[in-house]
Symmetry: C2
Subunit: 230 residues, 2 copies
DNA sequence: ATTTCCAATATCGTATCCGATTTTCGGGTG
DNA sequence: CACCCGAAAATCGGATACGATATTGGAAAT
């Protein structure tokens, strides 16, 4: 590593004081979401380390975290693989859990959200509008990221950070995205999102709960349809 | 390459290959549950490494995981601390989430559990009986561990592994245990557990759901009472 | 073509080293 | 006496090198 300072050593501070493991984790997630890696691809620790130009230490920790989130799978003593796409049953399990948490979260958000929360939610809904008409995979990815942000904002507004954290950990948007991309779907959910946002804005708890439930059930149906048509 | 020709017979493995990070993680959890460490105690990485007689690498990964579970907190560039006990609000948040998941899990267990699952649940209930009368902190710990096992078994029987995994990640038993220990409580919950088990055995979904809800609400009330009397 | 063996390769853990930041502690100042 | 400042010590996040063990892919042998 001494030699590398010589051959291309820009004087600029290479210091993204952002905790290298975090940025490695983000890079890895980005790799998965860009669909650059087929499910089943080997993720060699020091291969990634070289590619990202870091040492193995942060890569290990990033993979460790991805494993906990189901984005990669580990074979003992034999490295990591890109996790397979969600199977039909795993998809149902995922939505099952979301349906337990998110409608309740929406209802609580309707009850507890601050004025600023409601504004953030509405902003997030509006931010998604431009993303729905693209066709490139970047458009898909932006859509998924905005969707994640919206659902996260609602969960945060619920007043129970543990719920928000639990949902975040499911990485539902990453899993869904991989499926969406695979099947070439990018449903327009603007109307459903708007409905949830409106209910929260109006402090309508049962309305928000219903709207979120309907949104999730529709989303599940769309993904399942894509599954079955294969 | 030498003696391998001879002994392909069942040789006992000295089991060095059990993933050191896992056992470090278990040791750390044990340390917390033995209440050997006051909340706020510094957990120096290489201090732990020396104490457990391993290198720093597995300690790092174990701490990383404990952090995700809220058992320790990290101060950037300044090490880890034993997490503070759950505050009143965090306790309510935790039970809030459990009340969303566990009654549903119990209902599904009543619907989906195999005969073997029902037997396991009943065994777990029975296993707790001897633990309730001890007075040492070991008795407390065994109680907490058995309780965790019972709730985990029910969640597994629900048929949705994601729900089980999510509950497991909350480490509710560790957090509760630390509170119980601090306040010197060890409630006898045998009756409530038996009720849940009976309902599941009888395939009574709404009964199981109700029984679990009542159990959790009682548990919450007991912990809150301990809080308020301080 | 199937099986056996072996060398290449990768993981997991260890040991060390380094720069950077945090913490601690001692002293000077108001 | 309290407060602030600055240097020393401790420790983190990361890099690198190395060893033991397990997997893997291919060649040799049956």
């Amino acid at each position: 590593m001494r030699e590398r300072d010589q051959d291309q050593a820009p004087r600029l501070r290479p210091a993204p004081r952002l905790m290298l493991r975090e940025s490695v984790y983000e890079s890895l997630k980005r790799l998965l979401m860009d669909n650059a890696l087929e499910p089943g691809t080997r993720l060699s620790i020091d291969g990634l380390a070289r590619e990202l130009e870091v040492s193995q230490t942060p890569v290990r920790e990033a993979l460790f975290r991805c494993e906990a989130e189901g984005l990669v799978v580990r074979r003992p003593n034999a490295g990591y693989l890109v996790a397979p796409l969600l199977g039909r049953d795993a998809l149902l399990d995922l939505y099952d859990l979301r349906l337990l948490l998110e409608p309740t979260a929406a209802a609580r958000a309707a009850a507890n959200a601050t004025e600023r929360d409601r504004q953030d939610i509405d902003d997030a809904v509006r931010a998604m509008a431009p993303a729905v008409h693209g066709d490139s995979y970047q458009a898909y990815r932006e859509f998924a990221e905005e969707d994640a942000k919206l659902h996260g904002t609602i969960a945060n507004a619920s007043g129970n950070p543990l719920i928000a954290e639990t949902l975040d950990r499911l990485r539902a948007h990453v899993h869904s995205y991989r499926l969406y991309f695979r099947h070439g779907i990018a449903e327009v959910t603007a109307g459903e999102h708007q409905a949830v946002s409106d209910m929260i804005r109006d402090h309508d708890q049962t309305g928000a709960e219903q709207a979120m439930r309907i949104h999730l059930e529709n989303s599940r149906t769309r993904l399942l349809a894509a599954y079955d048509q294969d």
